[in-house]
Structures are given as C-alpha cells and as structure tokens.
Amino acid sequence: MLKISADKLNSLFDAVSAKQSLYIPVDRESGSAEYRKYKSGMEMSKCLNTVRSAKDFFFPQTENLADFKMNGKNIEVIDVREECEDFVIFGVRACDARSFTILDKVFLAEPVDSYYKNRREHGTVVTMACTRPAETCFCTAFDIDPTSPEGDVAVFSDGESYFFKPNNDKGQAFIDSIADMLEDGDTAELAQVQSNTRKIMQMLPLANLSTDSFGGEKLMEHFNSEKWANLSESCIGCGTCTFVCPTCQCYDIRDFDTGNGIKRFRCWDSCMYSDFTKMAHGNPRNTQLERFRQRFMHKLVYFPANNNGEFGCVGCGRCLAKCPVSMNIVKVMKALEEK
C-alpha cells in the first residue's frame, strides 16, 4: 500500500491545499476538535472526533436556497446555485463516513436535492481508521468497522506512517494526484495495529449493544411502549443531540428580508423543538414525550422501515457525550429492549 511518513503529512497537506480546499480536524484551545480549512502549518487533531460532525460539509447548518426580488405585484426568482469547487475532507472517522451514505438515502432519493448533490459530487472524503476508540463508541452495533472505514480513500496509521487505500474511482484519482509524494510501504505493522484496535473494540462498555429489537417490523410495539414517559422525563427539549448528530437531517425553510429582497434559506431543525410540527390549527406532537419518541423512532424504526433495515444511527457517541442531561439513544435502546 502507498504511504507517507508521518513527518511529511503537512507537506502533503500543503500540496493538496494548493490545488483545492482542504479541511482537517484541528484542536481548539478547550481541548475539543473542529474541522477547519487547512492553512500551512496547521496540525491535525489527535482527538478521536470533532464536536460537530462532518455532515456540515454536505448539509451545512444554513444555506441559501433562492433569492426573490419583490416588485409591486411581481416576484422575480433568482437561482443562487453555483457549481461547487472541488474540496477534500481529511480525517473523517468511520462513523461519519457511514453517515454520508445514510444522508445520501435521503437527499439523493428522487427528487434529488441539488444543493446536497453538488457538494457531494465535488467533495472527496478521506477517512482515518480509528486506533483509540472512546468509551462512548458503539459503531460496531451498526456493522461499521472503524479499523477499515468507508469513504473515497481510507487512511491507516501505524504510528510511523500513513497508508492510503482507495475505496472507489474518486479515491484512486485522489491518490494518483498525490502519488509523487507517496512511496510503497510494508503493511505488516498495520495489520497488527488493526488487530489491536479490534481487540479494544470488544472491550468497549457498549460492545454488546444490540439492534436486534429494532427495525420497521417493531413499529407499533415500540411506538406504544409505556417506557417513553420515563425516558423523556428529563429531556429539556433542546437540539443538542440533533445538531451534533451526523445523521440528523431534518430542516426548516425560512425567509429572511434583507431589506433589499428576500433570501430563502434552509437551516437545521430539530424534532425535539416544540414548534417543529406546530400548525396554525394544532400540533400532533404537543408534549416532549411525543417529540422525544419521534427522534428515536425515526432512527431505530422508521428509517430502517423505509431503507431495507438500515438504521439511522452510526454509533459515533456524540449525543452520549453532549446531551445536557445525559439521555441518549443507548439508554433508549437498552430500556426498550427490556421486556
């Protein structure tokens, strides 16, 4: 497999970023990581993952859908879409990489969302195999192998070097474009690293989490479960879980009067919010119990019902770490599967 030694990684970043925008995870002062546009000298974070997921690159928190000029009784629609420039996201973890295929099932289903598709086509996803999973990780419950991530190119580290494996044509093209900086490498050490990581995966506290009790066929059983009242009791109705989640994709469409025309923009929304389903004449989800239930039913039952059994969760563990009251999908799964 082609590789580059760790001390040359930044020169690789310099070369890639000379041709197109490159985003890498970097550490913030507070110790957490976020994706930033690479500038020469930036260090890649050693954190396992970023606070915000990588979904932002394809489904940003806000984006302009269209502009309107109002002139008396007339309206002019302005198509603001532009062909996106090529970009590379480096260091995406296996969980986030899988989240893209889940988002694809929503946004690339007919009618295709051209905003998402545009970015997806122009973005190259370079993933990074995990070696130090956290206690909050449970990606294996969703058949994700963190030691061999999806994405266009998978990168593996044995501590000394970074190895590059193409997963598709786009990935091969990326590797070809940097081939002059890479050299052939011996992957023996790499296999040992992978096997060590797999051993750690088995020791994780959530290693035995099972999805057997979930899926489309359990729709009415779980919807009518009496456990939701207790589970949702502490939920404060914020959108933290939704917004740090790599697969949550619900959105709102809003208009903003700039004083010089109207901007119609799309922004992230959360089914946890009280106004999510509110209509002029009523609200089918009036209590936090219903809103809380919706979020977990969507991931564990509704999404698999519509997508051949695939779940709408990738086990990244962000909601476990970030919920203000530590209520999360793992606790929901464990409670619901108890008879």
């Binding site: 110790g31 957490s32 206690e135 750690i200 506290p205 959530l206 009791e233 992230w268 793992v330």
Partner: protein, 323 residues
C-alpha cells in the same frame, strides 16, 4: 452522602411527607447521570446516584413538578437553592409542594475537562485524596482533582443554602469568589479585542438552545425565538449579527434574575463561556445599584424592576462606553 440521602428520601416517602423525589439517576458510565423523579423506594435503591459528577441543577424541573399532585422532595445543592428561590419569587414554583433538603455542593467534576487532557476510553474515575485515578481502556491515568473541576464550581459564589426544610451535612457561607475576574479582564480589553473575543466564541454557536432550555431563569411559556408571531423567531442566524444577538438578548432578558448557577456554560456543546455575559450584568448591577444577588431571598425587589430616586441616570451607559 449518597447513602444518607437515600435513607432520608425513603423515610420521607414512607411517612407520607412526600410522594416523589427528584434527584439524579445512574447513567451508562461512571460520570453521566440524569435528573430523575423517583416514586418508590425500590426505584431509589436501584438508580439513585449522588457523587462528584452529579452537577445538574434540578430546580427548573420543579416548575412542572410542583404543580402535580402531592409534595416532592428535592435535593438542592447551595447554588441550586438560589435558582429555586428565584423561581419561587417569580411564582413559577409552588413552594408548599416541595420539600427541600439542602445537600453539600461541589466542587463537582466535569468529564469534559478530563477528556480535554486527551484521556479517553474512561471506565472508572476514583478520587483518592484529591487525586483522580482514571481507569481507561489504555491504562490508568492520574490527574489532580482540581484540574478537572467544573467551571461553575471553580468560581463558586456560595456554599450557603438560601432555602431548605432540612439539611444533610453542614451549611456553608457566601464566599469571596473571584468570579468577576474574567469579566474585568474583558472590560479592560479594547473594544476591538473584546469584539474579537466574543465573535470567536459566539460564532461557534450551533443554536441548539441547550443554554436557554436548561436555564432556570428562562421559563417563558413560549420563547420569543420560538414564536412565529414575535417577528424575531429564528432557528439559525441569517448573519453574524443575529448570531451575536440571540445570546445578548437572552442575557438581557435574564439580567437581574440570573443567579449565576452556571448551567448555560455547563451544557454548551461548544464550550462557549456564556455565563460571562450574565456575570457582566451582575457585576454592573452590583456597581450601579448596590450589591444584589438574585435568588438570595424571595421578597426583595430586583434593582432592574424597582425604581429609586437615586438610581443612576441612563447617561451612564454613554459615559461608561467611552474608552
């Protein structure tokens, strides 16, 4: 402490003083706990937890819980009692329906502080004479207790319970805290430095509303930011101006009512030091109207809702704004 609390909770349930107990239940890991209401001794035995990580302030839940049938036992840390009192003062909590047991406060640990040291795969955390022994998948790490304490505890303002029906443990005193140090530092910056500081922080905001929803001073039935009729409802900032305004408007709205409980900064997934906005208001209120602590009692009038002839003139805003 946990044993004493469980014992007392079961007694009060058994003798009918209360029919429910609000506290915290054990989570998935050693460090995560969830506010919870317990109805039976069995539930308490199975799940009740109180340890170095139980930080959450349960006062706000009592807005709803105190309106239900029967009396509820609430365990309140010193800082939580201020929030409780303030909510009683605002007629949001029905005092008669809550039996308050004051319990010792922090310093509590913040797991995010431990993770920020690069410690991961955390399986257990033990406090051995104020050194944390952290058992992880990758070996045991040691960390001085005080390097992992929660931001809200680091600047503790008071170890005194301002309201309780009974106490477990000793009551403490109002402390000489250094909680305004950072505010002073910001005040001493140039306008541009200060602007850059806040833009850097507030631009991280993802508008998850955790700060607002956890805030005991934010108990509006329908927040202006959620109400289509308010004209300023928004879920995402259309520009950087709006990004700043959400937090600044919120700080204005809770000014004079914010007890400085620190929950806003505790829950922020992006670690924005939101409490500094509130502290600036508290510091200003103290210097312009005399020392005032929201929630210290249930009868005094907040300086911002009370007029006195010797109140400062509005022009002070201009004078203070000149660099």
């Amino acid at each position: 402490m946990q044993e004493a609390m469980i014992k007392r909770a079961k007694e009060l349930l058994a003798d009918g003083t209360v029919n429910r107990v609000i506290g915290w239940k054990r989570g998935e890991f050693v460090y995560d706990s969830t506010p919870a209401v317990f109805g039976t001794a069995d539930e308490i035995d199975a799940e009740f937890v109180f340890d170095d990580f139980t930080q959450a302030n349960v006062s706000k839940y009592l807005v709803k819980e105190s309106k239900k049938d029967g009396k509820i036992l609430a365990f309140l840390k010193p800082c939580d009692t201020y929030s409780f009192n303030q909510l009683v003062k605002e007629h949001r909590i029905i005092r008669e329906n809550v039996y308050v047991i004051g319990i010792p406060g922090g310093p509590k640990l913040d797991i995010e502080k431990i993770k920020a040291k690069g410690i991961t795969g955390i399986l257990n955390v033990k406090n051995v004479n104020y050194t944390l022994e952290i058992e992880t998948l990758y070996g045991t790490e040691k960390l001085p207790f005080y390097e992992a304490i929660s931001g809200k505890c680091a600047d503790c303002k008071s170890k005194k319970h301002v309201v309780y029906d009974e106490l477990i443990g000793e009551d403490g005193d109002v402390l000489d805290s250094n909680r305004f140090d950072m505010v002073e530092k910001l005040e001493n910056m140039t306008a541009q430095e200060r602007y850059d500081f806040w833009r850097g922080e507030l631009s991280k905001c993802i508008r998850c509303n955790a700060c607002r929803n956890v805030c005991p001073a934010c108990t509006c039935e329908n927040c202006v930011f959620d109400n289509p009729k308010s004209g300023i409802e928004n879920k995402a900032a259309a520009d950087s101006f709006e990004e700043n305004m959400f937090h600044i408007i919120r700080a204005f709205h809770v000014a004079g009512r914010c007890t400085d409980c620190g929950e806003c900064s505790r829950v922020c997934p992006q670690h924005i030091p939101l409490h500094l906005l509130n502290r600036k208001f508290i510091k200003d209120i103290n210097s312009l109207y005399g020392e005032y602590q929201a929630g210290a009692d249930t009868t005094s009038k907040s300086p911002l809702t009370d007029y006195r002839a010797d109140d400062c003139e509005p022009s002070i805003v201009h004078e203070r704004g000149v660099e």
